[in-house]
Amino acid sequence: MKLTRGAALVLGLVVVVYGALMLYPLLRVFEDSFREFIPGRIGSAANAPFTVANYTDLLHPAYVSYFWDTFRIGLISSFLGVLLAFPIAYFVARRRSDWLRRTTIGFLITLMFLSVLVRVYAIELSFGPVGFASEIARLFGETSGSRFYIEFMIVLGLLHYAVPMSALVLIGAIQNVNPRLIEAAQSLGAARWKSHLAVSVPLCARGLLSAFLVSFTLSISAFIVPMVLGRGKVMFVSNLIYNRFSELANFPSGSAVAVVMLVISLVVIYIVSRLTSGDWERAVR
């Protein structure tokens, strides 16, 4: 049907809402990131001179290390997440609709919906200094306050979301692999592990990649997990933005970090959507 005036009005109103609450604020952040920092106000002064100092500051090794930490820890947790989720997903995908399948799917979806605060608090309570942390830390030859152990806790925090999410993405992928193929490989004499490596994994490659990239996107933009579990010793880029607001009140610098982070996220998401063409949207549901 061709667009009527009423319909155009509805769409126009929605565009206005999006413009006011997302597009314009983001453009302001972009503009602010090029303004000189004048202490003591929220946002830049309207007549503050333009500068690229907010960006060149980010090239300082101290800042580069925040980006590096974010990527390194994000990469480790998304990789582990996919690895741990695959067998669980395989188990669910190969079952017909019965109570066990439904319970597991319900369980995974509930875990995805769970508030990040609940996860973080539960992990801190279990693995933190009051939990059985000291014993686990000793296994690594560390104390529960060491940097390694804190990074380990952040990985756990990210995995608590990445595993159920990856499992749900992989269930969809594995279900669309013909089970006869694996049976054929095994009846022709391949060992079970070999048949999985040679048949299941390559046929699920897109699913595996998309699960990995979705986890990665969400991990590098994680905020509460590194904020609480990092205890100020390990910070992600998102925490850097918040610090610019809560502790330093340096908004132009925060804006520059936000612009860089947004560009990185959009590039990763662009790659995801090219690789999976639409899977991503179903995946983050």
């Binding site: 049907m1 667009l3 319909a7 109103l13 919906f113 608090y121 595993v163 607001f245």
Partner: protein, 273 residues
């Protein structure tokens, strides 16, 4: 030899999966048990005896109660508003054809790909620049932009599934445009709308990343109050609050299962028919 390797590896994979599931569940169980701890300090697991003191503490703490009240009102308001906007946008997008339609749909879904911290930060700058300091306006604005895309997506998904022949049949049988819309399209899209509303409520209720930027010392949501408490005292009232949130999540998933059916969210795949 092959059998042995297979069995050993199989056992290893089963153990690894069991450990993963245990890792996902155990912290939640520990938090639940600890929320009933009778000690008045944060001691080691397990608690020596049980009591409800942390729940009493949580529900008699003025600041938590205020946060809970703000969160509930906010989640209801954001759900109502975003359902209205989202459903209107999705129906219009589905029904009419015009140049640039795909671009507009992508634009309407785009807040999903912007990290929430950046949305919160940019809204803080925006609201401060235009002089909006009212906590409700700021929070509803922030929660709206993160929940509307979910409503649009689920509603669009349910509308795409409706076969055009059904509305055409209604029209051929003499219904007006309007009547076929209300009698055929809307009832068939109901599950999508309801799922969108459940998503909106859940995401609004749980949000911290956006709210943290838009709240202040005397106006905050429950998750913001919990975050602040976690960074300072870390007492077990947070465990009591966490258990309440777990119960709320399970209730929402139950509603989602009733409305849409969880198996439909995933699908059965092509080889399971």
């Amino acid at each position: 030899m092959k059998r042995l390797a297979d069995n050993v590896l199989g056992l290893l994979v089963v153990c690894l999966s069991a450990a993963t599931i245990a890792f996902l569940v155990t912290p939640l169980l520990i938090a639940t048990v600890m929320s009933f701890d009778s000690r008045d300090f944060l001691g080691a697991f397990p608690p020596p005896s049980l009591s409800l003191q942390w729940y009493v503490g949580f529900f008699s703490d003025a600041s938590y109660l205020k946060g809970l009240q703000v969160s509930l009102i906010l989640a209801l308001a954001a759900t109502a508003l975003s359902s209205l906007i989202g459903v209107a946008a999705a129906f219009t997008l589905d029904r009419y054809t015009f140049p640039g339609k795909d671009t507009l749909s992508a634009f309407f879904l785009s807040p999903l790909v912007v990290p929430h911290v950046i949305i919160g930060f940019s809204l803080l700058l925006f609201f401060s620049a235009i002089g909006v300091f009212d906590g409700w306006v700021r929070l509803i604005g922030g929660h709206l932009i993160i929940t509307v895309p979910y409503v649009i997506r689920t509603t669009l998904a349910s509308l795409v599934g409706i076969r055009k022949s059904l509305t055409e049949a209604a029209l051929i049988l003499g219904a007006t445009e309007r009547r076929s819309f209300w009698k055929v399209t809307v009832p068939l899209a109901k599950t999508g709308i309801a799922a969108g509303a459940v998503f909106a409520f859940a995401y609004s209720m749980d949000d911290v990343s956006v709210s943290l930027f838009l709240t202040g010392p005397d106006f905050y949501t429950l998750p913001v109050a919990m975050t602040t408490a976690m960074r300072s005292e870390f007492d077990l009232r947070i465990a009591a609050a966490a258990v309440c949130l777990i119960v709320l999540t399970i209730a929402l998933i139950w509603v989602l299962d009733r409305v849409v059916g969880l198996d439909k969210v995933i699908g059965q795949g092509v080889y399971h028919k």
